[in-house]
Symmetry: C2
Amino acid sequence: MNDRHAGAPMPVEPGDVHAAAQRIDGRAHRTPVITCRSIDDIVGGRLFFKCENMQRTGAFKFRGAANAVLSLPDGEAHRGVATHSSGNHAAALAEAARERGVPAYIVMPESAPRIKQEAVAGYGGRITFCEPTLAARQRGLEEVVARTGASVVHPYNDARVIAGQGTATLELLDQAPRLDAIVAPIGGGGLLSGASVVVDGSGEDIELFGAEPTGADDAKRSLAAGRILPSIAPSTIADGLLTSLGELTFAILHGHGRTILCVDDDVTRRAMRLLWERAKLVAEPSGAVALGVVLAHPEVFEGRRVGVIVSGGNVEMPGPR
Amino acid sequence: MNDRHAGAPMPVEPGDVHAAAQRIDGRAHRTPVITCRSIDDIVGGRLFFKCENMQRTGAFKFRGAANAVLSLPDGEAHRGVATHSSGNHAAALAEAARERGVPAYIVMPESAPRIKQEAVAGYGGRITFCEPTLAARQRGLEEVVARTGASVVHPYNDARVIAGQGTATLELLDQAPRLDAIVAPIGGGGLLSGASVVVDGSGEDIELFGAEPTGADDAKRSLAAGRILPSIAPSTIADGLLTSLGELTFAILHGHGRTILCVDDDVTRRAMRLLWERAKLVAEPSGAVALGVVLAHPEVFEGRRVGVIVSGGNVEMPGPR
């Protein structure tokens, strides 16, 4: 148990994650944990893949979105929820809102991949397209909220979302006992923050690592600098990990003294291929970054039992439709 | 329980499958069973995917190969095992032999896909290439056996292999209780024969269907005709299902009064895509045929709990390596 920062109050506590687990029970999937002997032979360790690619809407994001939507009082919920996102959070929020019977307003750049646009629309999300800049996305969101009164659910800088994401790690600890380490990808930091709260609250001696693409290493730099350094012109195939830390996720990750390990895209590509060829799992690039880190840092993981969060699987199948 | 043919002695009995399960315990994986809400919504039933694509060597074939190799007395085993196969059985036999520390001689057509050649070589199989005709394959196998004294392990027309394949269904019944139906692909009939023995011996009221590509429907025609009708110029993307029934598999499937349902390749392609996009599972075409049959015959499966065997996942990932 890491208690060196035990004095600092945290925006999310273990009890919040347990409450989220109860709230989303029966709605989010308890995703399987898969092992693969031939990948284990390659890395020289024992890996436990937490298959959040098999989560509803194809990514862990459904956990946080569902927890946020279900946390809203009826009086607020009926006006709906809103977010700006080009990715998995948008689909997750749309599905969570649909399940509660309230509208979800999604502000999305026109440049978002077709598969993600279709997913949001398929889950009943009401899409407003905007220019592909952060300013345009924020302006679009403000307009939607002013018009509808919807509650904003940020993709990661939201305590309800972080607590929801933590449930993935809570399950993993139960499904794969006696882990030595856990690796989770980090973009905005929701998944890793939730994992931090759970691991450090577990009383178990588990090393938790954030996995970040070298081409978008703002989290590593921010934690080293002790302040949020935004991502400037990030470049990586892991399109889900382009975002910068938020205030809440920075506070949690810095407070817990988290370590980030980086991986180059070519190793992440190799990780995607191994997941495909050996484990028969479809992972999107961001979902393969954690395995990429294990491949890139054998000195850290050799001979250990390692939980690896495969965070999402929303990648288009090549070939004719 | 189907006992209409209870009087006829069967070449494989439930006890053989239970013995195989004990023999391969700890060697073959107990593969996971995955559910996928969005595919369930499409088919209007509840599907339980038995993930034999996650079996060692990427297909259920490892079960039968391991059972056959482990059944050999030491005096025979040390001379090795041999087979002719361009596919998953060859890789499975090579790996099972390697694990026992004996050689595996594989006669393989030069036209076999590179990924399958590499897999066999990677598992330590000793490959003899031949012309891509059945006659050349059989001649090649006879030469190898004459030279080495290896024991032939046929891909499906072998009671030890059939009993081994049956263990997949044995596990499925345990992992997904109260099934109404099970669908398993049929090529040579080893997997379906093993499933037949298990289902009819289970005492449970489960309908078992063979899933066959329309372009290679020799099993359906053979069972209707009451004799083995060989596959003539079969044409299907399901390259694992091109083979014809053998005497043992015909006897079992005919004896158990098995029903075969066919599916066109375009529906199998759709099934592959659904497994990829919704379940995040990599299935080779033959591994998607069972889901294809569920999609093609909604009147049979709607509203039911259906076990679907995803028999293999050895398909190349597109793009640069």
